[in-house]
């Protein structure tokens, strides 16, 4: 296996991973303020962690707000209408109004539900989302944690979201919820396999599970991105990633868990107010995360498409939002699959093809037929 091209990249990242050299301007400033240049000071660490938590919370809620607005506006445009216009300029404050209203709604629990599971479920999906956000490299020096096994961490945490749906649907004690939850469980377990096969392909190609290394490995012009760099296999894997991630996100055409026309609300039938808004929020944060992972793995992350352009977080955002546009486009175009067809699509179509694609990619890499 010809891995000579990857060697220098690994070195540079190894330098960055060193806690003494991995710095951000804000973190440095905090450390200076606390008069501890080596970063080992407990106070500065605490402050930095708090800043990180606030940043993540702010970022995820802002993302969700923007995405909800974007979805409603885009849906309007797809449907020959305007979308929200009355709340703020271009209806930009629509999501703020929705969120505030949901937070101020009366919160109650159906009598028949199980209090512990009913209240636990809405907390989980956002937790998982935060944990995944922590490892995504937003920019050359913009990341919170950078575990060596980043991709494996993500695939482990991604399952947490569906756990919340299962718990919530069981705790609601409603048949519609339960059916939605069971569908979600079956769907997530199935599509996770293909998703991880897509990850595996990138691991195979880059020889890395660390997300920063994967991004750094795609530096240079846009033909260095894995979607193009692996001729054919990369593109197929990207398409599979889009399909499986749509399924993981429970979005149309795979939204059998909510399936409004069948199960009224699916797993969140019995949730109202804040609890519902948590699910709602998490859905959109997850959408961003999926898009960001896709951009990181296949589209070069924060790398600019051309060498002469500066790298930065704006590229990751642009790429993520392009993928999110695809998700939204899917949602407002396709009808919903039936649950058994959804399973058949995964086990009879996507999984075998992903495996074949993986073998194909393996051959390409072994023969050194990489761009």
């Amino acid at each position: 296996m010809d891995t000579s091209t990857h060697q220098p990249v690994q070195q540079s990242v190894a330098e960055r991973l060193d806690p003494h050299t991995a710095t951000t301007p804000l973190g440095d400033w905090v450390r200076e303020l606390c008069d501890a240049p080596d970063g080992g000071n407990l106070l500065s660490m605490t402050i930095n962690v708090i800043i990180i938590i606030i940043a993540i919370c702010a970022f995820s809620s802002l993302t969700a707000m923007v995405l909800v607005w974007m979805e409603r506006k885009l849906a309007g445009r797809f449907q020959r209408r305007l979308g929200p216009t009355r709340t703020g300029p271009f209806g930009l404050l629509q999501t703020a109004a929705d969120g505030l209203k949901l937070f101020l709604k009366e919160g109650f629990r159906p009598n028949a539900s199980d209090p512990f599971t009913y209240y636990l479920a809405p907390l989980l999906p956002l937790t998982g989302a935060f944990m995944v956000l922590a490892v995504i490299p937003f920019g050359p020096s913009m990341w919170i944690a950078d575990p060596e096994l980043g991709l494996i961490f993500i695939s482990a945490i991604a399952g947490l979201g569906v756990l919340a749906l299962l718990i919530g649907s069981w705790g609601s004690n409603n048949k519609y919820s339960l059916m939605g939850g069971l569908r979600a469980g079956a769907q997530a377990i199935s599509y996770e396999v293909s998703l991880i096969l897509c990850f595996l392909l990138i691991v195979l190609a880059s020889g890395e599970t660390n997300l920063l290394n994967i991004v750094e490995g795609q530096q240079g012009n846009f033909w260095n991105w894995w979607i193009i760099k692996l001729p054919g296999a990369g593109f197929i894997a990207f398409i599979f990633f889009i399909i499986t991630s749509t399924a993981e996100l429970n979005r149309t055409p795979f939204d059998t868990t909510e399936a409004e026309s069948e199960l009224t609300g699916g797993f969140h039938t019995e949730y109202s107010g804040i609890a519902f808004s948590m699910f709602f929020l998490a859905e959109y944060v997850h959408m961003f995360i999926a898009a960001a992972i896709g951009a990181t793995l296949f589209l070069g992350g924060y790398n600019a498409p051309f060498e002469f352009l500066p790298d930065g977080w704006w590229w990751l955002m642009a790429k993520s939002y392009a993928i999110i546009f695809l998700y939204i486009w899917f949602r407002w175009t396709f009808p919903r699959l039936r649950i058994d067809q959804l399973m058949a699509l995964e086990w009879k179509f996507l999984l075998p093809l992903s495996l074949i694609n993986l073998v194909f990619a393996g051959i390409l890499i072994a023969m050194g037929w990489i761009l």
């Binding site: 449907q79 929200p84 209806g91 109004a97 929705d98 101020l104 709604k105 109650f108 609300g265 519902f276």
Partner: protein, 411 residues
């Protein structure tokens, strides 16, 4: 869960300048609530189509942030009562309303939900005004209201919400408990009185006007003219179907003593001259009823394979059970009429079922049982279909009276 907003004014108001802060909170809360009204997917009849039209591209309810139609009442803020509310549905509506978390709003869309609308008089099943069941905030008149009217209703509701304050808990409007009376007669009498007064006042002026303008002739509109033209014939329609004579011949071959309704003494010549529009209507006795229908269904030439409907007519001393059949091969129709006796003493008229011959008859017979009280023996599932199980009486009988539900039409 949920934030107790009542606490805010208690804390803020005593502080210097706190009243302004509370007002600001009020403003923001009301803004959020009014610009994010998520309606429940609820529609019973015609108005629901106009509600859907409001949600569609032309009228676009999403401009006001209200396009998020939620199927679950837990996430909805607003019920748009689109369509007539019947007694059977009212219990479910109450449940739906109670399942919604506060603050919740109700818009009554259309005449039916305001007062019963066109279904006010002579009606045993419609609730005369949805505000007898749930508190209504905004009423939108119309039958059905135009989408613009619904949008206006939503804007009115937004105005209503922006007048709320967190200083006082929101109190829903009280339920309407007006007695169901014949308003028409009372109002008509009042109007008549009023009109008389006006006429008396104007009489002098009219005379004066007539004296001043002797040549004036009032314009008589086109539509008030008496039209009387020549008698028009029906447009002739060609039909190719089995002729009445053939049908009668086939029937009388097997059942010679079954007459045609109102034409018992008809001769063969008259039969042959009947227009193809005429539908033979056979009168059978109860003992032959099932056998006759079965014969019609299985006869090779007649082949009455499609059951249009089974229905009944109350003739005060007996019922007629009517079976309307159609043949998809011969393109002809046959009606069958069977008399079922009943009296005040014997209030449980019975007749055999034909649901083993036509699956469709199952529901038609249940409907007759529900509305006329005729029991069909050997029916697999004889229970009420349109009305609630605890409904007393059979409303389509001519002697049905229920003053608690029905307001008699005064005109």
């Amino acid at each position: 869960m949920g934030i107790d907003l009542q606490l805010i004014p208690k804390v803020l108001d005593p502080l210097p300048g706190g009243k302004g802060l509370t007002n600001a909170v009020d403003y923001i809360v009301n803004w959020a609530r009014s610009s994010s009204l998520w309606p429940l997917v609820y529609g019973t009849s015609c108005c629901a189509i106009e509600m859907m039209a409001t949600g569609a591209a032309r009228h676009d309810i999403s401009r006001f942030g209200a396009e998020v139609f939620r199927a679950s009442p837990r996430q909805a803020d607003l019920i748009i009562l689109a369509g007539t509310l019947t007694e059977k549905m009212s219990h479910h509506l109450k449940t739906l309303y109670e399942q919604m978390p506060e603050p919740k709003y109700v818009i009554a869309m259309g005449a039916c939900t305001i007062s019963g609308g066109p279904f006010y008089y002579d009606n045993y099943s419609v609730i005369k005004g949805a505000d007898r069941i749930v508190p209504v905030d905004v009423f939108i008149p119309g039958c059905p209201p135009r989408p613009e009217a619904l949008l206006h209703g939503i804007l009115e509701l937004q105005k209503l919400i922006s007048g709320e304050t967190i200083r006082q808990p929101r109190v829903p409007r009280p339920l309407n408990d007006d007695p169901m009376i014949d308003r028409h007669s009372a109002d008509a009498a009042a109007w008549k009185e009023e009109d008389k007064k006006i006429q008396e006042e104007l009489a002098g002026k009219r005379e004066q006007w007539a004296a001043e303008n002797p040549d004036f002739k009032a314009y008589k509109g086109e539509r008030f003219k008496n039209v009387s033209g020549p008698k028009m014939g029906h447009t002739p329609v060609e039909r190719s179907c089995t002729s009445v004579a053939d049908i009668c011949a086939a029937v009388h071959d097997k059942f010679p003593d079954i007459p045609l309704y109102n034409k018992a003494e008809i001769t063969d010549e008259e039969l042959a001259e009947l227009s193809p529009q005429y539908i033979p209507d056979f009168v059978v006795g109860q003992e032959q009823y099932t056998a006759f229908i079965s014969f019609l269904k299985n006869h090779a030439d007649l082949n009455m394979d499609l059951l249009l409907q089974v229905t009944a007519v109350d003739w005060k001393d007996h019922f007629d059970v009517l079976v309307h059949l159609y043949s998809t091969t011969g393109k002809h129709k046959i009606f069958v009429r069977c008399s079922v006796d009943y009296s005040k003493e014997n209030d449980t008229p019975e007749i055999d079922t034909i649901s083993h011959l036509f699956s469709g008859a199952n529901w038609h017979e249940r409907e007759i049982f529900d509305l006329f009280g005729i029991t069909f023996t050997n029916h697999p599932d004889m229970r009420r279909i349109l009305l609630r199980d605890d409904f007393v009486g059979h409303p389509l009988r001519k002697d049905f009276e229920d003053s608690s539900r029905i307001v008699k039409r005064p005109y």
